[in-house]
Subunit: 193 residues, 2 copies
DNA sequence: TAACTCGGTGAGCGTGCGCTCAGCTAAAGG
DNA sequence: CCTTTAGCTGAGCGCACGCTCACCGAGTTA
């Protein structure tokens, strides 16, 4: 790899890193591309040499983050099929990037259709895995015969709600960390007979 | 009241009605004030004779709607203290203005601090009433000794989640209507022993 | 009826944002 | 060492939006 190519790649990574900082801090929809460029220490125009428009930068940024998240999740899923354990680690993974997921929760309704589709597709895969594990529990007579999709909406809806609240109303610290145990307890209660 | 005053009041009401139509349809943050004026069949400048700026129009619009909602809710609260009944009618009230509450759910994180405070204060009053009714149920040994605030967050979080989904992903009809019974059933299950 | 008041009008101002492009510099190529 | 090329620069274009203001005409007043 020659000097030019490494330089180019490094600039691109700078842009994504800067965009992520801003994303976590105050969201990206209401941030000017010029500010992203400033944060990345590049000229405004340079940004558009690496990304044809603001949307494609957002798409790449989110895709990079969600890929990391999915990879982590896949691993944990292979290790156990205990709902409490999986949920516990799922929440921990989100907490580690809580700023990111808070912004995602708030901005999701405003992304372009295609990006929203991508994000929701990834979410549906996670949902499906939870579904299978709970289904096993029901078949083994551990859990009650509940409406699984609806129970999962309670779970993901609540997490989503906490994440939006965090961004809007809590100054410091992690909301999910504070309510971690309570979320798990109530969800398990929904599953139980 | 002379002709000028009635004319002025009617114009003001036209503006709020137009703003509400747009609010329900596609939200107001991403709508130009010129379009609100078009919908109300008035000149762009007229809007700013009745409201000093866009924000104060949003504030009044939301305040009018939430007042109506609160009044309705107060009445139903006086009539019964059965959680299922109250929740049932609470959901019905939201359904009747589902478009409005969908937009509210999506836009809330982006409103100015003061407006957000107002909206959340109203929500906290509703929350408090649910809290009291459930507390009664626990004292009468009908329900388990659960963490009430956390249970309520599951409820409101889920409703909020359904509302945002509705706006983004469902073309026609009411999401809350479709899942009305399931929401009630699962919430009651959380309360039960 | 003449003078005055006041709600309404809409062209246009200021600003901010996404994005472009002519020009520059330094690395790559011969 | 000279030419070519790739990556970067930043002034500035076009547009959209919130908001203003000089002007108009109908309603009110005396």
């Amino acid at each position: 790899m020659n000097k030019r190519k490494t330089q180019k790649q490094s600039t691109r990574e700078n842009i994504i890193a800067a965009a992520k900082t801003i994303y976590v801090d105050k969201g990206i929809l209401n941030t000017a591309t010029s500010q992203i460029a400033d944060t990345a220490n590049i000229a405004h125009g340079t940004l558009f040499l690496h990304f044809p428009n603001k949307d494609s930068l957002i798409i790449e940024l989110i895709d990079v983050e969600l890929s990391k998240f999915s990879d982590n999740l896949k691993q944990l899923i292979l290790e156990t099929s205990d709902v409490r354990t999986i949920l516990n680690r799922y929440l921990t993974l989100i907490q580690e990037e809580e700023g990111f997921f808070s912004t995602l929760a708030c901005e999701l309704p405003y992304y372009k259709r295609e990006l929203r589709r991508q994000i929701l597709f990834r979410q549906s895969l996670i949902r499906e895995h939870f579904h299978q594990v709970i289904q096993q529990g029901i078949e083994q007579n551990i859990y009650a015969k509940i409406n699984i999709p609806c129970a999962l909406t309670f779970l993901f809806g609540t997490i989503n709600y906490y994440l939006s609240l965090n961004k809007s109303f809590v100054q410091e610290g992690s909301v999910l960390n504070k309510f971690h145990e309570q979320i798990i307890d109530i969800f398990i209660k929904i599953l139980q007979k």
